[in-house]
């Protein structure tokens, strides 16, 4: 079986974020969701010395730098909106599966923004993944 290179990276994402899901449950047993997000960003910063790429950072195009920074803004904004939804009367059993549908945005927008489309097999996989993630988040 020949697996594409992204498969192994995706496996690392699944395992680390899978553990994060568990730790999230544990942390919110002791502190609020907002505090949890604040300390999570502190955790991000612990990695910065290892990640610092050096002067090469200033050689990237302004456009790519903006995209990278904005990806961080939107990720944290999404996390904040999730907490806000739960605080404003959203049941976790509805909000969690609903918000897990974000890959749908990518599927809908990718053809326009990235000029990428998916074939039938990939589409079936994406559909299975979306159904799975909704059922798993309930």
């Amino acid at each position: 079986m020949h697996l594409p290179p992204w498969f192994w990276f995706a496996a690392v994402v699944l395992i680390s974020w899978g553990v994060v899901g568990l730790l999230q449950k544990l942390s919110t047993n002791y502190i609020s969701a907002e505090s949890s997000l604040i300390w999570l960003v502190v955790g991000f910063f612990l990695l910065q010395p290892v990640l610092y790429p050096g002067k090469v950072l200033f050689g990237y195009s302004a456009r790519s730098l903006v995209w990278a920074l904005l990806s961080g803004v939107f990720n944290a904004l999404g996390a904040w909106a999730l907490f806000a939804a739960m605080k404003n009367g959203g049941k976790a059993s509805i909000v969690a599966p609903l918000t897990a549908l974000y890959p749908l945005v990518v599927v809908l927008v990718a053809p326009v923004v990235l000029h990428e489309s998916i074939n039938r097999t990939q589409g079936l996989g994406v559909l299975c993944a979306l159904v799975a993630v909704v059922l798993l988040s309930t």
Binding site: G21, L57, A68, F74, V107, V109, G125
Partner: protein, 144 residues
């Protein structure tokens, strides 16, 4: 709950904002990864997340609960999230299909559910079992 009352509920619009934000995050991560390697992407991403954390801190008037356990778990969350983010940027950079990579990596609740059973001794619901089956099917299809 009727559709009309759902549309009037604040939580629904916050949830929608979350979906759109995370969709934008994934797309921007892909766009940035075309040029910038994974480690530098995660480095920049962290500075992007900072203003939101600071805004929350101000909204809470700098009052944070003093639970060492809670703080430890949340900081560990950040470190592991960062590692996962790094791998996600690397996956996008590898040139695979963005929709497929986003959908595949969004399957992480599958690991959480399994760990919750193994470590927290939670019991699987039948809905989760069906979910795991769909997750397995998706992974097999993606590996074809």
């Amino acid at each position: 709950m009727s559709v009309a009352s759902t549309l009037r509920a604040k939580w629904f619009w916050y949830s929608l904002l979350c979906v759109l934000s995370w969709g934008a995050w994934a797309l921007l991560a892909k766009l940035g990864s075309n040029e910038i390697p994974a480690a530098a992407m995660q480095f920049l991403f962290t500075f992007g997340a900072l203003p939101v954390a600071v805004a929350l801190l101000i909204a809470r008037r700098f009052k944070l609960e003093k639970s060492l356990k809670g703080i430890f778990y949340a900081v560990a969350n950040g470190v592991l999230s960062g590692v996962g983010g790094l791998a996600l940027f690397a996956a996008y950079r590898s040139g695979g299909n963005t929709s497929v990579i986003t959908a595949a990596t969004a399957l992480y609740p599958m690991i959480t559910v399994v760990l919750a059973v193994l470590i927290l001794r939670e019991r699987l619901t039948w809905v989760q079992v069906v979910g795991l089956a769909f997750a397995g099917a998706a992974i097999v299809i993606f590996s074809l």
